[in-house]
Protein backbone atom coordinates (compact mmCIF):
# COMPACT_ATOMS: atom_id res chain seq x y z
CA UNK A 1 0.00 0.00 0.00
CA UNK A 2 2.83 2.32 0.96
CA UNK A 3 4.55 1.52 -2.34
CA UNK A 4 1.42 2.35 -4.32
CA UNK A 5 1.00 5.61 -2.44
CA UNK A 6 4.62 6.57 -3.08
CA UNK A 7 4.26 5.72 -6.75
CA UNK A 8 1.13 7.83 -6.93
CA UNK A 9 2.89 10.76 -5.28
CA UNK A 10 5.82 10.39 -7.66
CA UNK A 11 3.54 10.40 -10.72
CA UNK A 12 1.57 13.33 -9.34
CA UNK A 13 4.70 15.38 -8.66
CA UNK A 14 6.04 14.51 -12.12
CA UNK A 15 2.78 15.68 -13.68
CA UNK A 16 2.89 18.92 -11.69
CA UNK A 17 6.46 19.60 -12.74
CA UNK A 18 5.58 18.78 -16.31
CA UNK A 19 2.58 21.07 -16.15
CA UNK A 20 4.82 23.91 -15.11
CA UNK A 21 7.60 23.23 -17.58
CA UNK A 22 6.32 21.77 -20.79
CA UNK A 23 4.27 24.02 -23.00
CA UNK A 24 1.13 22.87 -24.70
CA UNK A 25 1.71 22.63 -28.44
CA UNK A 26 -0.77 22.63 -31.27
CA UNK A 27 -1.01 23.67 -34.90
CA UNK A 28 -2.83 26.81 -35.89
CA UNK A 29 -3.71 27.63 -39.47
CA UNK A 30 -0.25 29.01 -40.25
CA UNK A 31 2.06 28.01 -37.42
CA UNK A 32 2.93 25.48 -34.80
CA UNK A 33 2.12 27.16 -31.53
CA UNK A 34 3.82 26.48 -28.18
CA UNK A 35 1.64 27.82 -25.43
CA UNK A 36 3.41 28.74 -22.19
CA UNK A 37 0.39 30.34 -20.67
CA UNK A 38 -0.16 27.24 -18.54
CA UNK A 39 3.18 27.92 -16.91
CA UNK A 40 3.16 30.09 -13.83
CA UNK A 41 4.12 33.73 -14.38
CA UNK A 42 3.95 33.51 -18.15
CA UNK A 43 1.34 34.49 -20.65
CA UNK A 44 3.44 33.94 -23.74
CA UNK A 45 3.00 31.83 -26.79
CA UNK A 46 5.60 31.06 -29.42
CA UNK A 47 4.77 30.58 -33.07
CA UNK A 48 7.05 28.46 -35.24
CA UNK A 49 7.12 27.43 -38.83
CA UNK A 50 5.22 24.16 -39.14
CA UNK A 51 7.64 21.27 -38.89
CA UNK A 52 10.50 23.54 -37.89
CA UNK A 53 10.31 24.04 -34.14
CA UNK A 54 13.85 23.10 -33.10
CA UNK A 55 15.83 26.25 -32.61
CA UNK A 56 19.41 25.81 -33.85
CA UNK A 57 22.11 26.63 -31.35
CA UNK A 58 23.42 30.06 -32.18
CA UNK A 59 26.51 31.36 -30.52
CA UNK A 60 26.10 34.82 -29.21
CA UNK A 61 29.04 36.34 -31.04
CA UNK A 62 28.56 34.80 -34.42
CA UNK A 63 26.84 36.02 -37.52
CA UNK A 64 26.71 39.72 -36.98
CA UNK A 65 24.61 41.62 -39.53
CA UNK A 66 26.56 44.77 -40.32
CA UNK A 67 23.86 46.50 -42.33
CA UNK A 68 21.07 45.87 -39.85
CA UNK A 69 19.60 49.31 -40.48
CA UNK A 70 19.09 48.37 -44.12
CA UNK A 71 17.47 45.16 -42.96
CA UNK A 72 15.17 47.17 -40.67
CA UNK A 73 14.08 49.23 -43.65
CA UNK A 74 13.30 46.12 -45.61
CA UNK A 75 11.33 44.63 -42.72
CA UNK A 76 9.48 47.93 -42.34
CA UNK A 77 8.41 47.68 -45.99
CA UNK A 78 6.94 44.23 -45.61
CA UNK A 79 5.31 45.02 -42.26
CA UNK A 80 3.74 48.12 -43.77
CA UNK A 81 2.42 46.07 -46.66
CA UNK A 82 0.94 43.44 -44.35
CA UNK A 83 -0.45 45.89 -41.79
CA UNK A 84 -1.64 48.75 -44.00
CA UNK A 85 -4.17 49.94 -41.46
CA UNK A 86 -3.85 49.29 -37.78
CA UNK A 87 -5.69 51.02 -34.95
CA UNK A 88 -3.96 52.22 -31.80
CA UNK A 89 -5.41 49.52 -29.60
CA UNK A 90 -4.24 46.74 -31.84
CA UNK A 91 -0.90 48.47 -32.28
CA UNK A 92 -0.45 48.58 -28.50
CA UNK A 93 -1.25 44.89 -28.26
CA UNK A 94 0.96 43.56 -30.95
CA UNK A 95 3.85 45.97 -30.65
CA UNK A 96 5.57 43.73 -28.11
CA UNK A 97 5.69 40.86 -30.57
CA UNK A 98 9.29 39.66 -30.71
CA UNK A 99 10.51 37.96 -33.88
CA UNK A 100 13.76 36.02 -33.75
CA UNK A 101 15.38 34.25 -36.64
CA UNK A 102 18.52 32.31 -37.33
CA UNK A 103 20.49 32.29 -40.55
CA UNK A 104 23.54 30.59 -41.94
CA UNK A 105 26.67 32.17 -43.36
CA UNK A 106 25.03 32.38 -46.80
CA UNK A 107 22.24 34.48 -45.39
CA UNK A 108 19.65 31.72 -45.65
CA UNK A 109 17.02 31.90 -42.92
CA UNK A 110 16.97 28.54 -41.15
CA UNK A 111 14.48 29.12 -38.40
CA UNK A 112 12.17 31.71 -36.93
CA UNK A 113 10.06 32.13 -33.84
CA UNK A 114 7.48 34.73 -32.91
CA UNK A 115 6.88 35.43 -29.25
CA UNK A 116 3.75 37.29 -28.27
CA UNK A 117 1.29 37.48 -25.39
CA UNK A 118 -1.39 34.83 -25.66
CA UNK A 119 -4.23 37.29 -25.35
CA UNK A 120 -3.08 39.04 -28.53
CA UNK A 121 -3.82 36.00 -30.65
CA UNK A 122 -7.03 35.42 -28.70
CA UNK A 123 -8.18 39.00 -29.28
CA UNK A 124 -6.85 39.43 -32.79
CA UNK A 125 -6.78 36.02 -34.48
CA UNK A 126 -6.67 37.79 -37.84
CA UNK A 127 -3.07 38.90 -37.27
CA UNK A 128 -1.82 35.37 -37.81
CA UNK A 129 -1.89 35.72 -41.58
CA UNK A 130 0.03 39.01 -41.86
CA UNK A 131 2.57 37.74 -39.33
CA UNK A 132 3.00 34.63 -41.41
CA UNK A 133 3.42 36.71 -44.54
CA UNK A 134 6.07 38.87 -42.87
CA UNK A 135 8.22 35.96 -41.69
CA UNK A 136 7.68 34.07 -44.95
CA UNK A 137 8.80 37.08 -46.98
CA UNK A 138 11.83 37.47 -44.74
CA UNK A 139 12.63 33.81 -45.05
CA UNK A 140 12.43 33.95 -48.82
CA UNK A 141 14.41 37.18 -49.01
CA UNK A 142 17.23 36.01 -46.71
CA UNK A 143 19.81 38.32 -45.20
CA UNK A 144 22.76 37.78 -47.47
CA UNK A 145 22.84 41.33 -48.81
CA UNK A 146 23.24 42.89 -45.36
CA UNK A 147 26.93 42.08 -44.90
CA UNK A 148 27.28 39.11 -42.61
CA UNK A 149 30.30 38.64 -40.42
CA UNK A 150 30.80 35.08 -39.31
CA UNK A 151 33.51 33.96 -36.97
CA UNK A 152 32.60 30.32 -37.44
CA UNK A 153 30.60 29.57 -40.57
CA UNK A 154 29.33 26.31 -39.17
CA UNK A 155 27.28 28.13 -36.52
CA UNK A 156 24.15 30.10 -37.27
CA UNK A 157 23.70 33.74 -36.46
CA UNK A 158 20.68 35.19 -34.73
CA UNK A 159 18.76 38.39 -35.24
CA UNK A 160 15.71 39.64 -33.43
CA UNK A 161 13.38 42.58 -33.54
CA UNK A 162 10.30 43.77 -31.77
CA UNK A 163 7.42 44.99 -33.91
CA UNK A 164 7.33 48.21 -31.94
CA UNK A 165 10.70 49.24 -33.36
CA UNK A 166 9.48 48.48 -36.87
CA UNK A 167 6.34 50.53 -36.34
CA UNK A 168 8.56 53.36 -35.13
CA UNK A 169 10.41 53.24 -38.42
CA UNK A 170 7.12 53.23 -40.33
CA UNK A 171 5.33 55.90 -38.31
CA UNK A 172 8.14 58.37 -38.09
CA UNK A 173 9.35 57.60 -41.59
CA UNK A 174 12.72 57.66 -39.95
CA UNK A 175 15.71 57.34 -42.17
CA UNK A 176 18.61 55.54 -40.63
CA UNK A 177 22.00 56.92 -41.52
Amino acid sequence: MKKVLLSFLFILSFCLVSYGQIPKSYDTKYFTCYDYSSKLDSKSIYLYEKGNVERPFPLDRYGNISKWKELFKYIAQIVKKEFPTIDDEMMASISKTHVTFNYDSNGKVLFYSIRLPKNVLDNYPEIEKPLFNVVSALKEHGVREYDLEFSDKSKPGEFGFILRSIFQVINTNKEFP
Binding site: F57, D60, S165
Partner: protein, 318 residues
Protein backbone atom coordinates in the same frame (compact mmCIF):
# COMPACT_ATOMS: atom_id res chain seq x y z
CA UNK B 1 45.34 56.71 -52.49
CA UNK B 2 47.27 53.81 -53.84
CA UNK B 3 50.68 53.02 -52.58
CA UNK B 4 53.29 55.62 -53.04
CA UNK B 5 56.51 54.73 -54.65
CA UNK B 6 58.87 57.61 -54.50
CA UNK B 7 62.03 57.05 -56.35
CA UNK B 8 64.61 59.32 -55.03
CA UNK B 9 67.97 59.12 -56.63
CA UNK B 10 70.37 60.81 -54.37
CA UNK B 11 73.33 60.21 -56.52
CA UNK B 12 73.49 58.58 -59.87
CA UNK B 13 76.08 56.01 -60.57
CA UNK B 14 78.86 57.39 -62.66
CA UNK B 15 82.14 56.47 -64.05
CA UNK B 16 84.66 59.06 -64.95
CA UNK B 17 87.64 59.05 -67.12
CA UNK B 18 89.99 61.81 -66.17
CA UNK B 19 93.27 62.85 -67.56
CA UNK B 20 95.86 62.32 -64.99
CA UNK B 21 99.29 63.46 -66.01
CA UNK B 22 100.92 61.57 -63.22
CA UNK B 23 99.44 58.32 -64.44
CA UNK B 24 100.02 58.79 -68.13
CA UNK B 25 97.03 57.72 -70.17
CA UNK B 26 95.77 55.17 -67.64
CA UNK B 27 92.05 55.56 -67.00
CA UNK B 28 90.80 56.02 -63.43
CA UNK B 29 87.30 54.78 -62.55
CA UNK B 30 85.52 56.04 -59.48
CA UNK B 31 82.21 54.59 -58.37
CA UNK B 32 79.59 56.51 -56.44
CA UNK B 33 76.87 54.56 -54.71
CA UNK B 34 73.37 54.64 -56.09
CA UNK B 35 70.90 55.19 -53.28
CA UNK B 36 67.31 54.46 -54.04
CA UNK B 37 64.61 55.21 -51.55
CA UNK B 38 61.19 53.68 -51.76
CA UNK B 39 58.31 54.92 -49.67
CA UNK B 40 55.25 52.80 -49.21
CA UNK B 41 51.93 53.48 -47.61
CA UNK B 42 50.49 50.69 -45.53
CA UNK B 43 46.79 49.94 -45.70
CA UNK B 44 44.85 47.54 -43.58
CA UNK B 45 41.50 46.26 -44.73
CA UNK B 46 38.98 46.87 -41.98
CA UNK B 47 35.53 45.46 -42.70
CA UNK B 48 35.92 46.02 -46.41
CA UNK B 49 37.36 49.51 -46.07
CA UNK B 50 40.99 50.19 -46.77
CA UNK B 51 42.40 52.22 -43.90
CA UNK B 52 45.71 54.03 -44.12
CA UNK B 53 47.93 53.02 -41.26
CA UNK B 54 51.33 54.48 -41.93
CA UNK B 55 54.21 55.01 -44.28
CA UNK B 56 57.66 53.62 -44.36
CA UNK B 57 60.66 54.57 -46.43
CA UNK B 58 63.58 52.37 -47.19
CA UNK B 59 66.82 53.13 -48.93
CA UNK B 60 69.20 50.74 -50.56
CA UNK B 61 71.98 50.61 -53.00
CA UNK B 62 71.81 48.06 -55.82
CA UNK B 63 75.59 48.17 -56.11
CA UNK B 64 76.01 47.16 -52.50
CA UNK B 65 73.40 44.45 -52.52
CA UNK B 66 70.26 44.02 -50.48
CA UNK B 67 66.98 45.78 -50.61
CA UNK B 68 64.68 46.13 -53.52
CA UNK B 69 61.10 47.13 -53.69
CA UNK B 70 59.01 45.44 -51.03
CA UNK B 71 55.49 45.46 -49.80
CA UNK B 72 53.75 45.70 -46.55
CA UNK B 73 52.25 42.54 -45.12
CA UNK B 74 49.85 43.29 -42.30
CA UNK B 75 50.13 40.87 -39.47
CA UNK B 76 53.54 39.59 -40.32
CA UNK B 77 55.18 40.51 -37.05
CA UNK B 78 53.23 39.30 -34.09
CA UNK B 79 56.20 39.61 -31.79
CA UNK B 80 55.79 43.35 -31.66
CA UNK B 81 53.12 44.62 -29.39
CA UNK B 82 53.81 48.29 -29.10
CA UNK B 83 52.62 51.03 -31.37
CA UNK B 84 55.72 50.96 -33.48
CA UNK B 85 56.20 48.02 -35.76
CA UNK B 86 59.37 47.34 -37.57
CA UNK B 87 58.56 45.55 -40.77
CA UNK B 88 57.21 42.27 -41.91
CA UNK B 89 59.84 40.03 -40.45
CA UNK B 90 62.27 39.43 -43.26
CA UNK B 91 62.33 37.12 -46.23
CA UNK B 92 61.74 37.77 -49.90
CA UNK B 93 61.15 41.29 -50.94
CA UNK B 94 59.04 42.17 -47.95
CA UNK B 95 60.17 44.95 -45.72
CA UNK B 96 61.94 43.74 -42.70
CA UNK B 97 62.96 44.67 -39.22
CA UNK B 98 64.51 48.06 -39.18
CA UNK B 99 62.14 49.61 -41.67
CA UNK B 100 60.59 51.62 -38.87
CA UNK B 101 56.93 51.57 -39.67
CA UNK B 102 55.00 54.04 -37.62
CA UNK B 103 51.39 53.21 -36.89
CA UNK B 104 48.85 55.16 -34.95
CA UNK B 105 46.25 53.66 -32.64
CA UNK B 106 45.16 56.67 -30.61
CA UNK B 107 42.24 55.03 -28.81
CA UNK B 108 43.64 51.58 -28.36
CA UNK B 109 46.78 52.90 -26.77
CA UNK B 110 44.75 54.08 -23.76
CA UNK B 111 43.98 50.52 -22.65
CA UNK B 112 46.63 48.49 -24.53
CA UNK B 113 49.29 47.12 -22.23
CA UNK B 114 52.95 47.05 -23.23
CA UNK B 115 53.23 43.25 -23.18
CA UNK B 116 50.32 42.68 -25.57
CA UNK B 117 51.11 40.90 -28.80
CA UNK B 118 48.52 41.70 -31.44
CA UNK B 119 49.80 42.34 -34.92
CA UNK B 120 49.02 45.47 -36.89
CA UNK B 121 45.96 44.03 -38.58
CA UNK B 122 44.47 42.89 -35.28
CA UNK B 123 45.31 46.17 -33.61
CA UNK B 124 43.75 48.06 -36.49
CA UNK B 125 40.53 46.10 -36.12
CA UNK B 126 40.58 46.61 -32.37
CA UNK B 127 41.13 50.34 -32.81
CA UNK B 128 38.14 50.40 -35.16
CA UNK B 129 35.95 48.59 -32.61
CA UNK B 130 37.07 50.84 -29.76
CA UNK B 131 36.19 53.89 -31.85
CA UNK B 132 32.57 52.77 -31.51
CA UNK B 133 32.69 53.66 -27.81
CA UNK B 134 33.20 57.26 -28.90
CA UNK B 135 30.45 57.40 -31.50
CA UNK B 136 27.26 59.39 -30.93
CA UNK B 137 25.09 56.45 -31.88
CA UNK B 138 26.50 54.15 -29.23
CA UNK B 139 24.23 53.61 -26.23
CA UNK B 140 25.44 55.81 -23.32
CA UNK B 141 25.66 52.92 -20.82
CA UNK B 142 28.18 51.14 -23.04
CA UNK B 143 30.22 54.33 -23.18
CA UNK B 144 29.97 54.61 -19.41
CA UNK B 145 31.29 51.07 -19.08
CA UNK B 146 34.29 51.87 -21.25
CA UNK B 147 34.92 55.09 -19.36
CA UNK B 148 35.16 53.06 -16.14
CA UNK B 149 38.22 51.36 -17.57
CA UNK B 150 39.80 54.63 -18.60
CA UNK B 151 39.02 56.32 -15.27
CA UNK B 152 40.65 53.44 -13.42
CA UNK B 153 43.58 53.44 -15.83
CA UNK B 154 43.10 49.75 -16.53
CA UNK B 155 45.62 48.41 -19.03
CA UNK B 156 44.78 45.13 -20.72
CA UNK B 157 47.11 42.62 -22.23
CA UNK B 158 45.64 41.75 -25.64
CA UNK B 159 46.60 38.43 -27.15
CA UNK B 160 45.67 36.22 -30.08
CA UNK B 161 45.57 32.44 -29.86
CA UNK B 162 44.11 30.37 -32.70
CA UNK B 163 43.95 27.28 -30.45
CA UNK B 164 41.53 28.91 -28.06
CA UNK B 165 38.14 27.18 -27.78
CA UNK B 166 36.32 30.45 -27.28
CA UNK B 167 36.13 33.41 -29.70
CA UNK B 168 37.44 35.61 -26.90
CA UNK B 169 38.02 35.33 -23.17
CA UNK B 170 39.15 37.44 -20.28
CA UNK B 171 41.73 36.11 -17.85
CA UNK B 172 41.77 37.58 -14.34
CA UNK B 173 45.22 36.12 -13.65
CA UNK B 174 47.01 38.56 -15.95
CA UNK B 175 44.25 41.01 -16.93
CA UNK B 176 44.31 39.78 -20.49
CA UNK B 177 41.85 39.40 -23.34
CA UNK B 178 42.60 36.70 -25.87
CA UNK B 179 40.99 36.57 -29.30
CA UNK B 180 40.89 33.33 -31.22
CA UNK B 181 40.87 34.55 -34.83
CA UNK B 182 41.20 37.94 -36.49
CA UNK B 183 37.46 37.78 -37.19
CA UNK B 184 36.82 37.56 -33.45
CA UNK B 185 38.17 41.04 -32.97
CA UNK B 186 34.71 42.54 -33.22
CA UNK B 187 32.23 44.56 -31.20
CA UNK B 188 30.33 41.65 -29.67
CA UNK B 189 33.40 39.84 -28.45
CA UNK B 190 35.19 42.90 -27.19
CA UNK B 191 32.13 44.25 -25.40
CA UNK B 192 31.59 41.15 -23.31
CA UNK B 193 35.27 40.83 -22.42
CA UNK B 194 35.40 44.48 -21.43
CA UNK B 195 32.43 43.88 -19.15
CA UNK B 196 34.52 41.18 -17.47
CA UNK B 197 37.45 43.58 -17.26
CA UNK B 198 35.24 46.14 -15.50
CA UNK B 199 33.80 43.49 -13.20
CA UNK B 200 37.28 42.40 -12.24
CA UNK B 201 39.14 45.68 -12.01
CA UNK B 202 36.40 47.97 -10.70
CA UNK B 203 34.12 45.77 -8.57
CA UNK B 204 35.14 42.25 -7.58
CA UNK B 205 38.93 42.37 -7.80
CA UNK B 206 40.57 39.21 -6.46
CA UNK B 207 37.26 37.65 -5.39
CA UNK B 208 36.19 37.15 -9.01
CA UNK B 209 36.35 33.45 -9.64
CA UNK B 210 35.50 31.67 -12.89
CA UNK B 211 34.28 28.65 -10.93
CA UNK B 212 31.07 30.56 -10.25
CA UNK B 213 28.67 31.26 -13.05
CA UNK B 214 27.42 34.42 -11.36
CA UNK B 215 30.03 36.59 -13.09
CA UNK B 216 29.43 35.18 -16.55
CA UNK B 217 25.70 35.54 -16.12
CA UNK B 218 25.97 39.10 -14.88
CA UNK B 219 28.16 40.06 -17.85
CA UNK B 220 25.65 38.76 -20.37
CA UNK B 221 22.71 40.23 -18.49
CA UNK B 222 24.49 43.58 -18.35
CA UNK B 223 24.74 43.68 -22.15
CA UNK B 224 21.07 42.74 -22.46
CA UNK B 225 19.85 45.22 -19.83
CA UNK B 226 21.68 48.08 -21.51
CA UNK B 227 19.87 47.23 -24.75
CA UNK B 228 16.51 46.65 -23.10
CA UNK B 229 16.51 49.94 -21.19
CA UNK B 230 17.76 51.87 -24.20
CA UNK B 231 15.01 50.30 -26.29
CA UNK B 232 12.00 50.34 -23.99
CA UNK B 233 12.78 53.23 -21.69
CA UNK B 234 14.99 55.57 -23.68
CA UNK B 235 13.32 55.10 -27.06
CA UNK B 236 16.23 53.73 -29.06
CA UNK B 237 15.38 51.48 -31.96
CA UNK B 238 17.62 48.60 -32.95
CA UNK B 239 17.61 44.82 -33.17
CA UNK B 240 16.94 43.14 -29.88
CA UNK B 241 19.18 40.12 -29.78
CA UNK B 242 19.50 39.22 -26.14
CA UNK B 243 22.73 37.29 -25.66
CA UNK B 244 21.80 35.38 -22.51
CA UNK B 245 19.02 33.21 -24.01
CA UNK B 246 21.36 32.35 -26.88
CA UNK B 247 23.51 30.46 -24.40
CA UNK B 248 20.68 28.39 -22.92
CA UNK B 249 18.22 26.98 -25.40
CA UNK B 250 15.73 25.87 -22.77
CA UNK B 251 12.45 27.47 -23.88
CA UNK B 252 11.37 27.75 -20.27
CA UNK B 253 14.48 29.73 -19.35
CA UNK B 254 14.11 31.78 -22.53
CA UNK B 255 10.53 32.69 -21.74
CA UNK B 256 11.28 33.52 -18.09
CA UNK B 257 14.23 35.61 -19.14
CA UNK B 258 12.35 37.47 -21.89
CA UNK B 259 9.58 38.29 -19.44
CA UNK B 260 12.06 39.60 -16.87
CA UNK B 261 14.20 41.62 -19.26
CA UNK B 262 11.18 43.24 -20.88
CA UNK B 263 9.86 44.36 -17.48
CA UNK B 264 13.27 45.74 -16.51
CA UNK B 265 13.54 47.50 -19.86
CA UNK B 266 10.17 49.14 -19.51
CA UNK B 267 10.85 50.16 -15.92
CA UNK B 268 14.25 51.64 -16.76
CA UNK B 269 16.06 50.21 -13.76
CA UNK B 270 16.32 47.01 -11.72
CA UNK B 271 14.29 47.11 -8.52
CA UNK B 272 14.56 44.83 -5.48
CA UNK B 273 11.97 42.43 -6.82
CA UNK B 274 13.77 42.23 -10.17
CA UNK B 275 17.00 41.36 -8.38
CA UNK B 276 15.28 38.48 -6.60
CA UNK B 277 14.08 37.08 -9.94
CA UNK B 278 17.55 37.72 -11.34
CA UNK B 279 19.00 35.40 -8.68
CA UNK B 280 16.52 32.70 -9.63
CA UNK B 281 17.36 33.10 -13.29
CA UNK B 282 21.08 32.92 -12.57
CA UNK B 283 20.57 29.69 -10.69
CA UNK B 284 18.37 28.35 -13.47
CA UNK B 285 20.74 29.33 -16.30
CA UNK B 286 22.64 26.45 -17.92
CA UNK B 287 24.77 28.47 -20.30
CA UNK B 288 27.99 28.07 -18.33
CA UNK B 289 29.60 25.24 -16.46
CA UNK B 290 30.28 27.08 -13.20
CA UNK B 291 28.17 26.78 -10.08
CA UNK B 292 25.76 29.33 -8.70
CA UNK B 293 26.78 31.11 -5.50
CA UNK B 294 23.92 32.91 -3.77
CA UNK B 295 26.28 35.03 -1.68
CA UNK B 296 27.73 36.86 -4.69
CA UNK B 297 25.90 40.12 -5.25
CA UNK B 298 25.65 41.55 -8.80
CA UNK B 299 27.59 44.69 -7.98
CA UNK B 300 28.01 45.85 -11.57
CA UNK B 301 24.28 45.67 -12.24
CA UNK B 302 23.50 47.39 -8.95
CA UNK B 303 25.94 50.20 -9.70
CA UNK B 304 24.62 50.79 -13.21
CA UNK B 305 20.92 50.01 -12.94
CA UNK B 306 20.07 49.86 -9.24
CA UNK B 307 18.34 53.21 -9.14
CA UNK B 308 15.88 55.26 -11.12
CA UNK B 309 17.19 57.76 -13.63
CA UNK B 310 15.41 59.96 -16.16
CA UNK B 311 15.20 58.61 -19.71
CA UNK B 312 18.13 59.42 -21.94
CA UNK B 313 17.37 61.30 -25.13
CA UNK B 314 17.94 58.88 -28.00
CA UNK B 315 20.69 59.64 -30.39
CA UNK B 316 19.41 61.60 -33.42
CA UNK B 317 20.71 58.78 -35.58
CA UNK B 318 18.28 56.33 -34.09
Amino acid sequence: MTYLCLLLILCVSCSQNEDNPGQGDEAVTRSYPVIITYCYDAYVDIMGVSVYKGTTCKSYSPNMGGGGPGWYIAGGFPEYGTQTDYGSGGGGNGFYIGDNWQFGFPNLTKIYRYDSSLNVFQKSKLEHVIEMFYEDTTIPDYKKLYKKLLDNDVRIKFLADSTSVSPAYYNTADVSITFRYDTDVNWNSLLEELVHAVQHNCYYHSTMNAAYKNYEFEAKVFIDVVKAIAFWYDGYSFPLNYVTPMTDLSPVFGDDYDTWITEVGERGYINASDFLIYETLCNQWQGYSGTYNSSIQPELLRAFFGRIRPPQPPSPNY
